[in-house]
């Protein structure tokens, strides 16, 4: 099994428009409902952000280890797991946002895709493609541009992530 760690390093995809982090990126923008019948996770990566204006090429340009940075309410909308699994398929390591849709957040945790919530995230705090480090245990995001404090991952969520997913956690319980 893949080794889990609370400290992750990678290249940052800053999702912004007119100098502001994009908020309310819903699940149709992340993974459009036209592709919902796909059940093979490895085929989901190609559709990631296919309906997010300005980022239609994300799936082609993303590299394993990348992290995504967005504004508030990331992943609002439907309960589709595809919107998490498409990132897993591409090897995206983590999603960082000011806040998350509730369903999206748990889907991500259950699939061991770490999400870091940073309510105080400023629009221009980090540069596109900057190399950053996140510490899920302390909730910190840091890079050459600076450092910002978010919510530490704790309790059941952290246990599930470290175990590699919900079922993996239950098996070890």
């Amino acid at each position: 099994m893949e080794k889990r760690t609370l400290v992750l390093k990678g290249r940052l995809w800053v999702l912004s428009r007119d100098g502001e982090l994009i908020s309310d990126i819903d699940t149709d923008m992340i993974y459009h409902n036209a592709h919902l019948a796909v059940t093979d996770v490895s085929k989901m990566g190609q559709y990631a952000f296919g309906n997010l204006k300005g980022y239609e090429e994300f799936a082609k340009q993303a590299r394993p280890g990348d992290m995504v940075l967005a504004g508030a309410n990331f992943g609002s909308g439907s309960s589709r797991q595809h919107a998490v699994d498409c990132f897993k398929a591409l090897g995206v390591q983590a999603v960082i946002a000011r806040s998350f849709g509730a369903i999206y957040k748990r889907n991500a945790i259950n699939s061991a895709l770490p999400v870091l919530e940073i309510p105080a995230l400023a629009d221009k705090a980090f540069a596109h493609f900057e190399q950053v480090e996140i510490d899920l245990g302390t909730g910190t995001l840091r890079g050459p541009s600076g450092s910002v404090q978010g919510k530490p991952m704790s309790g059941v969520a952290r246990d599930i992530y470290m175990a590699g997913g919900l079922f993996e956690f239950a098996r070890g319980e």
Binding site: A37, T39, N51, G77, S78, S99, A102, N110, G155, F167
Partner: protein, 415 residues
């Protein structure tokens, strides 16, 4: 210290004494999956569940409502995968004839006030309408509930929303929902359990609550909980003592007061459900179609209102009026009461029950430049096709279909 409705429902399902922010394990009374994501639930159960994977087959079932009957081979494949799995494990399938799963679960009294239900439908928090816990979750969570009968949940902070006054003539529960959507920047209610009180709430119908609770997801809320009133208790044959209410000394993170007094019909214009304005502001917008249905406005009460308003009137030339009842039972009553005749004679298109326009086109999608008035709950770009969707109540949808432009019900002659 007393508990809110949410805290008390969670406590009664194994969470113990819980407070906002606690991550708790809760027992689930109804574990459901629909045709959308259901096949992924099956795959997850088969991969992780062992030889006897279903904790309790009598509480576990599938509801088909997204693509019914299937009009794409992938959907048909997924539905058949589910049927085969259900047969093997003795699980009930509410198949392509049944209608919207969340409504079917309420109609069959599987969910009751104070109960817990999870499923793959993101509008399953509609259970707030009956003072019950409902949550849409992804296929991993749902598979886990099938296998173990429980899920983990972060206890949300509760807020109190007091609706002041009584809506004006021609305004519906949908307009109350739109008022809330327009009033709150949807980040304000994000992650909250919203309990609703007020004079109107004490006398409103179950359909009214369904309409509002079904939009909790668009409000960003975990759920919109209505303390069961007489109408809801009677529907379930329950007494107040059997339902769950907040304690008098419950703690709320915030209390909001919103006036609905004398409310007039509203619309949410593209591109999101929070873009709410009076209908009158859009009276020069010509429309190509109107849709009446969805988990928000597909109940028998909605169909009765639509038929009453359409009786003796005609849909404007060149306008499509699409009507989709929520469930098979609603459909049958529509036949018996002659509602289908009224809608047919007015020029409407009536489809079999299901999610209608919200899930990749049971009753068609909109093309570029096409303008639709819809009683559904989402008008995000691309959601119901490539066109522009205005969200509104049944009266507004009918009036707009008849007049060929966005119009309030008061603009119909004789209303």
């Amino acid at each position: 210290m007393g508990g809110t409705m949410m805290e008390k429902i969670l406590s009664s399902h194994g969470a113990g004494d819980c407070r906002p922010g606690d991550e708790v394990w809760i027992g689930i009374d109804n574990r459901t999956a629909r045709d959308f994501a259901g096949a992924s639930v099956v795959a997850n159960v088969e991969k992780n569940g062992g030889a006897k994977p279903i904790a309790d087959p009598s509480r576990t079932f599938f509801t088909f409502d997204c693509n019914v009957p299937a009009n794409t081979i992938p959907y048909a494949d997924n539905q058949q995968t589910i049927r085969n799995f259900a047969r093997k494990h003795g699980l009930k399938v509410f198949d392509v004839d049944a209608g919207i799963g969340s409504h079917v679960v309420i109609e069959n009294r599987l969910a009751r006030p104070g109960s817990t239900t999870v499923g793959t439908d993101s509008h399953l928090n509609i259970m707030g309408a009956i003072g019950a816990f409902g949550q849409g979750m992804g296929d991993v969570d749902i598979a886990f509930s099938f296998v173990s009968g429980r899920v983990w949940f972060e206890v949300p902070p509760s807020v109190k929303l007091v609706l002041e006054g009584i809506p004006g003539a021609g305004a519906e529960a949908k307009d109350v929902a739109l008022t809330i959507l327009g009033r709150f920047n949807h980040h304000e209610l994000l992650g909250k359990s919203v309990e609703v009180y007020g004079e109107w709430v004490e006398r409103a119908t179950l359909s009214d609550f369904i309409t509002i609770a079904s939009q909790g997801t668009e409000m960003g809320a975990v759920t919109i909980l209505f303390p069961p009133n007489r109408n809801v208790l009677d529907y379930f044959g329950m007494t107040e003592a059997e339902a769950v209410y907040a304690d008098p000394d419950a703690t709320y993170e915030a209390e909001y007061r919103v006036s609905i007094d004398g409310l007039k019909p509203l619309v949410a214009a593209p591109p999101n459900p929070n873009n709410v304005h009076p209908v009158s502001q859009y009276s020069d917008v010509r429309i190509d179609g109107a849709f009446i249905g969805s988990c928000t406005n597909g109940t028998l009460d909605d169909m009765r209102l639509a038929a009453k308003l359409l009786k003796g009137r005609k849909v404007a030339p060149g306008v499509m009026l699409k009507v989709v009842p929520a469930t098979r039972s609603v459909w049958r009553t529509m036949m018996k009461e002659g509602l289908i005749d009224d809608i047919f004679e007015a020029g409407g298109i009536i489809s079999n029950p299901g999610c209608g326009g919200c899930a990749s086109g049971q009753i068609g999608m909109t093309g570029r430049g096409e303008v639709q008035v819809s009683t559904s709950n989402r008008n995000f770009t691309g959601k119901q096709g490539a066109g522009d969707t205005y969200l509104a109540g049944v009266g507004t949808a009918v009036a707009s279909a008849v007049l060929g432009r966005i119009a309030g019900v008061g603009e119909l002659e004789g209303v």
